[in-house]
Subunit: 155 residues, 2 copies
DNA sequence: CACGATTAGATCGTACACGACATATATATC
DNA sequence: GATATATATGTCGTGTACGATCTAATCGTG
């Protein structure tokens, strides 16, 4: 296993493995592919499942709160939430106090998804090919990176 | 900075930060947002730029070779390559020896993108908020994770 | 050479993902 | 209390992303 050389900033022909953004991008594609059989069985997509996880943690969220949790815009969430509603996993209802807001809640059918304890942490760690220390560190560094990028792009 | 607890696999209500897949997913969204102003200036999208990088490294690739490099299917690449052709960054031509294949090459205009040395490695590292050691390790662990996930989903 | 099997791209339908804009409701100021 | 402003969500257009399927070209075997 060779150590990766870091190309200098003056070198023009950087290849894709030199880009951290590409490592993140392609790992995301790989996760989608790896999880697809599981989600197909549930009739869900990967972002839909993430949405249900967020709602399982804290039900009765507004679209905006969900967007802040999932890092998504209303233009992405609204159609997806309508599909989840059509599938019977969530309900959407206008807040009676503030009719601008729409509150999203899990249905019993939506809660039932989690009775299967679908994402057992240990088996997931095993499936990544990383030891537990690397796994935890990777997760921590990614979150740090993400939040730093988001903070930078807000200015 | 608190150390993240690892939830046991029997715990049902795992929250999103507990999922490595969500860390990867949301970091990818954050990268897209952070790079958007730069890509807007070039009239490119993030996947389009990655495609040009792959072609800059090795021009005259077939659609299939590009797909293997970028982890994308022909159903994704074909429309994107047509847009890149329409923008004048690449050419698409059937291979004369094997007419099933289409060979993609950078135009001078496509090559010119890289004269700007757009992605200086050091400034990119600085923008991530990670020290160089964490940056390199993160990249290496992500690639390992990605390749492990892909290998697992091929079976 | 013939003809079934394989391969490479392309097309289509579905689902994100976002910016720009539209709509409806709520708040603020006078 | 009328009107300007702000906020929350929805709609629309563009661009990925993929599986299923189609077409055309090539290969393999007789």
């Amino acid at each position: 296993m060779e150590e990766q050389e870091i190309s200098s900033s003056s070198e023009l022909a950087a290849s894709l493995p030199d880009f951290l953004c590409f490592a993140v991008y392609s790992t995301n594609l790989a996760f989608s592919k790896a999880y697809k059989p599981l989600f197909d069985e549930l009739g869900l997509t990967y972002p839909q499942y993430a949405t249900l996880v967020a709602l399982n943690e804290q039900s009765d969220q507004t679209v905006g709160e969900l967007g802040a949790t999932l890092f998504l815009e209303s233009s992405t969430l609204t159609p997806m939430l309508k599909r989840l509603e059509a599938s019977g996993y969530v309900t959407r209802q206008r807040d009676t106090r503030d009719e601008r807001q729409v509150r999203i809640s899990l249905t019993p059918q939506g809660k039932a998804i989690f009775d299967k304890a679908f994402c057992g942490r240990e088996s997931v760690i095993a499936a990544t090919g990383l030891d537990q220390e690397s796994f935890v560190r990777l997760q921590r560094d990614l979150i740090k990176l993400r939040d730093h990028l988001l903070a930078a792009s807000k200015q």
